[in-house]
Symmetry: C4
Subunit: 291 residues, 4 copies
């Protein structure tokens, strides 16, 4: 009646190695945006495509959120990572081109923001391929990073992603340092840049009929974010953020990011970098260690 | 299996033009109330009409909320916009007349607060017409503004509203400046005065069995509202509020509005205006720009 | 398709008269407890009767909550109102006797805390009668006040309650002053001591599988409670509280009540009274006004 | 139609005796962790076993949470109690051994974290036995304490646990002092170390698709925890905590525990002890009192 102990992920991947950060940095902050636009709402019900007010939450990204975020990052000379679903690339090519033009990393985020599930491997592969095509065709981008839409993944898909050129994933919640996925067949999977669950802005700043949540002010969010940064820095870890332009691109919310980055920079030893840069550093250290 | 990219709203309407605000104002604040009264609860289950405690949440508006809000606005010499469902006009004529008598704008808010849906076009048209009749018959009002009940809308309904005399909508969440809707058939729709999602008092101040939400204190709400105002002012945008007399008409909640308006006025360059005034200003600028 | 406008409660009862409070008081605070004990959890699923940890949330009332609350009220020389379901009287006679012994008012709160519904009139009458019997038989009490379990009521039940000796109800959310119910048949119903929705401690201090809610600290609750009191006092109204011994009887939560009462007393002109006292004052004023 | 009054738990167990705490302590703080790891997510849907991001919330415990918590406890010379499901012992033997090696108490927490239910007695007994086997086989531990997974229990299971060597339970929410369970058949059950509902870190610090909750900062949690401690100390009670390494093992969250323990120690008379120690003290006092 009680199922046997399966081989679970935690038993497969080795512990995260304690590689040093570059240039003596004490820790890393990885500012990343999931540019879900309307797909955030189509995932609840595809009929939402004709429900224009619901869609307008996502449409905020092209009209306001992304331009304001790009302005801010340019002024601060920060390169960030933008995970963009293929559907968004096809529907908002100009917005996506403006991200590429500013030199930010563009990562893979599925096609229609479908949540991967072990039962849907055929469909999930189609999502991966269709999005790779959009990113290449519209933006000329071949992504090396992948963030799972709606936060889910499984062994077969990790292997498929690796085979399609994905060097790193940033979706798991199981560590505060990067590590290398080991897959069920014994092969090496992508590098993981694990996400800190507290840095998802959706938990604090957006409420809609399909996602009814309380809204929290700046002091609330900054207390959590600054507290996580302070301790992660002492532990020498990585802070991977999960922001959404339809949240953090709102007027007051952008100020939260601004204050957080100011705080991170005030330490003088926090490395602010893209997923691609952090993964490349990890792979370099891994090679140096002969792993 | 993956649906094709539809033509979505965001691709239809042009970007919001950066028209100046009148008299050198830096931004606009648009105080607006959705006078849902009992319809807020009838929408969950029409049998609630006989559930008197549930109904009493809405009945608060005629007995206390509206009188106290009108007192406040009169003392501060502020004109606001009140979106009133036709059913509320018919059920609470004296309350609605007191709003008109004070010179506030009365806008369209459906009849029974039914949420518009693309699948219900026939029914939704009936809601529009029945409410137009109530507003005219009871209050002598022909509304020029429309706020979608429960925040939903679609192309066909936007066209229908325009054809029925609606000059502006205030329902979408996709911008921080007014813009002109462009409809699927290529025609011009109403002007949009987009709503700031943080200014819905329902998110902070009301909890009931049919809508169980946490309650938040003044400091919490003001931190969000003042923060949104501060940054929206720097961006030259519009703050469209979504208040409900059964929330903001409660004793402590009215103090939140009072403090927020005091803060807005303290800048000296914030234009506090009704939807009708803001839409008229937009249309004037649009004509001047030859659009 | 759209229903006709029914005669709704708000159209029946007259506005609340602006009677003065006794002895020049500026407003009234009415400390009241719903002693739901285990019935709070039986209402979700009667099988909970054998789920002992779920039941233990309610059992806290006899073991700790009520004794601590009674100690506090005795020390402060405050008389409060306790609405006790008949089932709780039968299951916890000693606890209920200790309430009576301290001279507090005991009010009617249904038998099994069943939520009244217009569709259940026969069953609801049985609940009323069975609870009257328990209160009389076990405690020797004939209640004059009624608070609707789970906050619901309807015209027929209000009439039935009046006919069974109930002089006042404290359940509606539609006013900040007491008023007299007018029933559908034109007759006079009980007096209403309307409840302030912010004063339900369940919204801030209890989380359980069947009622998963966030927990809030003292500063959060006191900001809301003190703010409501301050403005209600300026408006000359009534603050009717809805506390539960399984919430406010918890260690830190009792301190919230203590600080709130201290604040109320510091004004020097706030009348702290039981429901029975407030209803009697209302009826006296009503007679004096010839109503 | 209305059910008869059943014999409920509250009527069976005697009131908690007011035994003194050891060495003149004013109250006791009982730091306890539910090491649910992946079982926290398998309980929603066993298919989650292949949903690796969902599983990764639990996997955080072995990779980061437990090592960091053990470091902290070692530095502070505190012994705590860890309730570990049998499945977690089998899946994470090294992690569990590190807990035992540091001298902490290991308690029973079911096998697959299945919530006990009176309808499942046969299955629940299997859970108990299978977990006893894992704890003995892998860790060499024979537990004397039991915390009910997902907070539920019933008379038959309490008797079964006692017969399997369980001396105390820490699951009920009905008191602020330890007491002895009395079972339906009149026999003595285990001692209860009742849980303070405010000390479940899950209510403040974790949000996931299967458990979507708001996140709260340190000041919020400490206000509640310190407030509960202050008053519980005045009442001479017990603070039983319910922490989870996948929550309190997160960077900022560990600081909350640290600050709380610092506060508790600053009183100079708070006894910080394991469940086993507190239960042993209770049993000793019970014997001394001839009960």
């Amino acid at each position: 009646m009680i199922p046997d102990i399966p081989t679970i992920s935690a038993n497969l991947s080795d512990p995260a190695p304690e590689f040093p950060w570059p240039n003596g940095a004490s820790c890393a902050v990885f500012p990343a945006f999931d540019v879900d636009a309307e797909t955030a709402w189509l995932q609840y019900d595809f009929k939402n495509v004709d429900r224009l007010v619901t869609m307008s939450f996502g449409a905020y990204e092209e009209r306001v959120g992304i331009p304001k975020i790009l302005d801010y990052l340019r002024a601060e000379e920060i390169k960030a990572t933008f995970y963009i679903p293929g559907w968004v690339v096809d529907a908002h090519p100009k917005m996506c081109e403006s991200i590429v033009k500013d030199g930010h990393e563009v990562g893979h985020h599925g096609y229609l923001h479908k949540r991967p599930d072990p039962a849907d491997f055929a469909e999930d592969k189609e999502e991966i391929d269709k999005a790779l095509d959009s990113l290449k065709r519209v933006l000329g981008v071949t992504p090396v990073g992948y963030r799972a839409p709606s936060g889910e993944n499984y062994h077969e898909l990790l292997g498929y992603l690796r085979d399609r050129g994905i060097l790193y994933s940033s979706s798991f919640r199981d560590d505060i340092r990067p590590y290398r996925h080991k897959l069920r067949d014994g092969s090496r999977g992508p590098v993981e840049l694990p996400v800190n669950v507290s840095f998802d802005d959706w938990l604090y700043g957006l409420s809609q009929r399909f996602s009814p949540r309380p809204m929290f002010p700046k002091e609330h969010v900054l207390s959590i974010w600054n507290g996580e940064l302070e301790q992660t820095r002492e532990w020498g870890g990585l802070v991977s953020m999960v922001m959404h332009p339809q949240v953090t691109g709102r007027p007051m919310r952008l100020g939260i990011l601004r204050d957080f980055i100011t705080r991170a920079r005030s330490y003088g030893d926090v490395w602010i970098a893209t997923g691609q840069e952090i993964a490349a550093h990890y792979i370099e250290q891994e090679k140096a260690a002969g792993l």
